[in-house]
């Protein structure tokens, strides 16, 4: 009985990981965790792990009979639990986005000098722009001409303004700028000025429509959206910007 149970530990761990990875792919929850270039790898990994689980269950490793065997035949049940429980617990507990504590601990990027260098993009005539485009426009005159005083619509998460808010009519709107995965996510934010008080819980998803402006403040050019309307919205399917 013990031999059967210990022989099942490896397939159980592999199957658990394969199913969890597959779950993230099938439900597209993966989009909240990884850059799109990693999604295919996750699909393949899920399939490989499930295949390995089946193969190791059908073709179990033969037990060594020699006394001086130094092969490692997998850990005991404790290591099996360590391999499975944190994964399942994190899958259950993770809100699939960072809260205000992580955003504030990482500090928001409000200056394009802290972002990878600007890469010109084709003009596809979109009215919806990414928040990061406004930061690039602070340093790129041609982009600034495109956006300045134009009506724009941006989607991001609410963050109360902590500095640069003398009249109390500003807040920040933040998005996560990602290169590989959420672990390297950098919060990027621009200031929003609104006549109506914005009293949302921190990290609420908002759609802001208004005018893009680029005033000089504290000796540097900044991006400021003068809002016509601020409305609460559902989180977008892709919460990151790349």
């Amino acid at each position: 009985m013990n031999v059967i149970a210990s022989g099942l530990r490896t397939p159980i761990v592999l199957l658990t990981w394969g199913v969890v990875l597959g779950y993230f792919c099938i439900t597209n929850r993966i989009a909240s965790y990884l850059h799109p270039s990693f999604h295919a790898l996750t699909w393949v990994s899920a399939a490989v792990l499930i295949l390995l689980a089946v193969a190791t269950a059908l073709l179990p490793e033969k037990s060594c009979t020699h006394d001086d065997c130094h092969h490692h035949h997998g850990g005991g049940w404790l290591s099996t639990l360590v391999l499975i429980v944190p994964l399942i617990a994190a899958t259950t507990l993770s809100p699939s986005e960072f809260g205000i504590a992580a955003v504030q601990n990482r500090g928001t990027v409000q200056d394009m000098s802290q972002l990878p260098a600007f890469v010109p993009r084709a003009d596809d005539g979109r009215a919806k722009i990414q928040l990061v485009d406004l930061l690039y426009a602070t340093a790129e005159p041609s982009m600034r001409e495109d956006f300045e005083n134009r009506n724009i619509e941006i989607v991001g998460q609410f963050l109360p303004a902590r500095t640069g808010n003398p009249d109390g009519d500003r807040f920040e709107i933040v998005r996560m700028f990602v290169m590989c995965c959420a672990a390297d996510a950098r919060p990027v934010s621009v200031a929003v000025q609104s006549d109506r008080p914005a009293d949302f819980p921190a990290m609420t998803w908002l759609k802001v429509t208004g005018r893009a402006t680029f005033p000089f403040e504290n000796g540097r050019r900044t991006a400021l959206v003068v809002a016509d309307s601020v409305t609460e919205v559902e989180a977008p399917a892709e919460t990151f910007i790349y």
Binding site: T42, S94, I100, A102, P116
Partner: protein
């Protein structure tokens, strides 16, 4: 909330923890499947025949292997474990393990992209060169140490068991593939255990510690370099994306960012755990300290030249 230096939130922790697991596991699978195939299909004598006979040139070749066989820091450990088992000298394997996550084409491209407009060509060349030089220096330094002080006893004991299945008594390919699968799966579960523990600790620090506390250290070269290396150790980022994070620390001198980009792929919280699946704990801690001092001194010297 944001003013405190440490603010733990279970949701943030779980999110960061999962994202690194999801990103890293495919590379662990790749590395361990490769390790299984090496175990079963790479004859020791073939590998040793192609190795330079001189220790110095062998280490130099190992440190440059990432240009041909690029591997990330997570996937490389099971591979070098198997290569050591096959008889590859530890110094050669160490050179490959330390250098490959930096000296490879993907990292060159990502570093160049991240530092565009900030001397990208020079910075990329500096990063790859320093990574290579440090890997060679450290590997040569440990080449005189006895194996028992470096490797885990279990691995030393298993060295004699490595067997080649080629030649006239070769097993059928199907049985060898099954055996390779079992070797790979064993390695995967072994390394995954350490990976989970390392990622868990790194995720606590990367989400709970307020990164603004390091900003006052940016104005002093010694403190800036040490701080950025400490940060690299805590954040435990993938070497293909870390340049984009380093580039955002505009307050820090370039030499401190370089230290971040060379130290991080060689040693961080998750790697301390992953390395412990192959090396003795005392050796891993010594390696961490040695890398910290060596890279730190070089980067402080570079900072004094105006970098």
């Amino acid at each position: 909330m944001g003013s405190s230096w440490f603010t733990f939130n279970l949701g943030d922790f779980s999110y960061a923890f999962l994202s690194v697991l999801l990103e890293g596991v495919p590379f662990l699978i790749l590395g361990t499947l490769l390790s299984g195939l090496i175990d079963e299909f790479l004859p020791s004598r073939l590998m040793l025949r192609f190795l330079p006979r001189s220790r110095f040139w062998g280490v130099c070749a190992g440190a440059g292997l990432g240009l041909i066989f690029p591997m990330c820091e997570c996937g490389i450990v099971p591979v070098i474990r198997r290569l050591i088992g096959k008889g590859l000298p530890i110094s050669h394997a160490m050179a490959y393990m330390l250098a490959a996550p930096i000296v490879n084409p993907l990292v060159a491209v990502s570093t160049f992209a991240a530092f565009r407009g900030q001397g990208a060509v020079e910075f990329t060349i500096l990063r790859l060169s320093l990574g290579y030089a440090v890997a060679v220096a450290v590997s040569l330094a440990i080449s005189g140490l006895p194996m028992a002080r470096i490797l885990r006893p279990r691995l030393i004991a298993s060295l004699g068991e490595t067997h080649d299945h080629d030649g006239p008594h070769a097993l059928p390919v199907r049985r060898r593939l099954t055996s390779a699968m079992h070797s790979g799966v064993r390695d995967f579960l072994d390394v995954l255990l350490y990976f989970i523990l390392g990622v868990a600790i790194a995720s606590v620090f990367s989400t709970a510690v307020n990164q603004k506390i390091i900003l006052p250290f940016a104005s002093n070269d010694w403190l800036a370099v040490a701080t950025m290396m400490g940060l690299a150790g805590i954040l435990a980022l993938c070497s293909t994306s870390d340049a984009f994070i380093a580039a955002t620390f505009v307050a820090f001198p370039a030499a401190a960012k370089l230290a971040f980009l060379v130290f991080g792929p060689m040693m961080d919280l998750k790697l301390i755990f992953i390395y412990s699946s192959v090396f003795r704990k005392r050796f891993v801690l010594g390696l961490a300290a040695g890398l910290f001092v060596l890279i730190g001194l070089i980067c402080v010297r570079l900072a004094s030249t105006g970098l």
